[in-house]
Symmetry: C2
Subunit: 444 residues, 2 copies
Amino acid sequence: MSAAALARRRRDDLEIVCFERGDFTSYAACGIPYYVAGLVPSADDLVARTPEEHRAHGIDVRTRHEVVAIDTARRIVRVRRLEDETETDERFDRLVIATGATPIRPALPGIDALGVFGVQTLADGMAVHAAVDALGDSDAVGARRRAVVVGGGYIGLELAEALVLRGLDVALVEAAAQPMSTLDPDMGALVADALGNVGIELHLDEPVEAFETDGGHVRGVLTPAGLVPADLVILGLGVRPNATLASDAGIAIGATHGIVTDDHMATSIAGVYAAGDCVETHHRVSGRPVAIALGTHANKQGRVAAINASGGDATFPGVVGTAISKICKYEVARTGLNESEALDAGFDAVAAKIEGETRAHYYPGSTPIHVKVVAERGSGRLLGAQIVGEEGAAKRVDVLAAAVWMAMSAEEFASLDLAYAPPFAPVWDPVLIAARKAAEAATR
Amino acid sequence: MSAAALARRRRDDLEIVCFERGDFTSYAACGIPYYVAGLVPSADDLVARTPEEHRAHGIDVRTRHEVVAIDTARRIVRVRRLEDETETDERFDRLVIATGATPIRPALPGIDALGVFGVQTLADGMAVHAAVDALGDSDAVGARRRAVVVGGGYIGLELAEALVLRGLDVALVEAAAQPMSTLDPDMGALVADALGNVGIELHLDEPVEAFETDGGHVRGVLTPAGLVPADLVILGLGVRPNATLASDAGIAIGATHGIVTDDHMATSIAGVYAAGDCVETHHRVSGRPVAIALGTHANKQGRVAAINASGGDATFPGVVGTAISKICKYEVARTGLNESEALDAGFDAVAAKIEGETRAHYYPGSTPIHVKVVAERGSGRLLGAQIVGEEGAAKRVDVLAAAVWMAMSAEEFASLDLAYAPPFAPVWDPVLIAARKAAEAATR
């Protein structure tokens, strides 16, 4: 919808039609955990623009219409009207594919039981919200209600936080040895500590084998270590690009299962663009294609697709894998490559990790912050960074993301003129100290 | 002291002597306003390392010893022991000058009255703290006590906040038409609004002409607009490099009145280094020398001076003029050049200003943020940025400071992979939106 809206603003003369199989448009999927948590009062608050509002801006939005096929040669899409299952063909001159991502949902026994939820669409979020309401605070014998979140990535952790805030006992079940496997183990261990501190029961190294049910309703999650009881289960196993429609149309798909695009968001078929969670994009550090489902990339790509599809010229120059998350009072962020990713991408990588403070030590409210910086041995080029801390810690990753983006050296980074005043940072900002240590490590 | 401490860590074999005319070493001068405010309980909390602690680390610190002359030919300093006014000569192989800055103190009638304070040293801060204590909450007829801060720069505003927090009625008297004259007028106006919102009475365009006194004690500040009554006056008119000692020794001084150094912090005399508020440094955007009194530069320069003075090789690559401040719930920051500075430095500058939010609009605690970005017409090169907002706003200047440092274009900046999640930013971080608008302005 951001592509449609921008194309509309750029060109009065275009006919712009959008097909959406669901009921909503332009909603903040990233906001769903906060709606589930009760921090956002109503699901409507997540909707930036309704279909009616888009129509008022001259975009022909057709909800409950699913595109079931693309004919790139004849320049038509086949559209199924879900209301009555009728199908029609619609002609296009330019097409933007924005089919998003599909949650990973392993075919395990019991996964379709009542009380097991995926959280991908706004409708999913509303279903979870209602299910938590319906559970009540405690069961018939007065025990607190229990939720199990399966998957310890960003979405899993945000949903775990949401359920803690709703007053449930929460367990997190993760197949890997640490939560947030996109962090190095030493930083992941800090996240595990943080989860424990907010009362989340951790089941690490425990791949889910099945969901135990009773009368069709989930009662627990079965792992090699035993049964984790549950009144409610949320699947947070990540997503995969939803590129089936494009693939079926003969549009090139990459190794990540995302639609291949160039830096103009053009697919392998002339006049057909793609943007958002359905595409793969260029990682500027590893040089490899990656599929990263994130609203900020989707929006930027939608903008680029719209400009190019409407006769302009814009580029999406790739990503460096920046991500950020908050779990109660804890904050976590990363950018670039972690140590194992850097080695995997062929870099001779070194790393330095420091513990610092977010403010001058004497200023009230200073909190601990852990910063890890990964650099290339010899050149000292910044390859990535990870941050775990409390309030005011994680958004510091932005300056590291900019430096990684520009392939700045750790030594130059340590000289940067970053903002200093006691309420905001120590005399040496912790990111500068970490970079200096990484620069030293790179020359050893 | 940071130079001394690092030289000590680098080299066991050096004899390191430090002369300090005051009583304290290694204290956070930037923390004084927060001690005055009562946010920092004790002045001792601002002392990172006492003379005794330095001595325990093998540094021969001599407090209440003032260096009164440097003989660069004979490699000696003349030292006056303040206790008994005796003088001795001390030999050096390498010298680091770190004489700091001197507060600007115009020769106005009444400036030496009781109740008029400068705030430069820790002793000054303790005197102000005690004076506020002694004032009490109200005078004999029950009126609230009034403080006037003269000067609306960073220090003036931080002291105004401190006195508000101590329960005084506070007025700010500033000769310029806006507080924070290092911001453009449109951003300065936002700061003026913020000061009004926290109850500070603003007297702009009012140069101080005299201090009215009664029985030797200040009673008010006289400006062309009339008398601003005061029980206490704080001078926050800024500082000037204290380079007299160096100048008298024939060491080159620049147009900023700061000691001239190269990127190794070497002065015009071989083996003599200088660091901190007493030097001028290279502004990477304007290309001009600037004197900026800031603890973070002083520390970095001290480090570079120590490495070079102890046989190593390090450089200080200059500054981009980043600064940040907090006034109650408001935050202000800048980096690079503002519009008038950019024009003055010979750039054909354009600017864009946006109002955004610090978090996703639906996430609790999102606050307004104003971001202004200055860029070069044509190339779109980022020249500077200014931010005024509330919690979570100002430290965003860091990513802009890094981009200005690297002469990145506003267009490339707008594509940066900055951290996004609803508790931390909207899908388009406000700094990205401002950069995009500046990029558009640069091509018009």
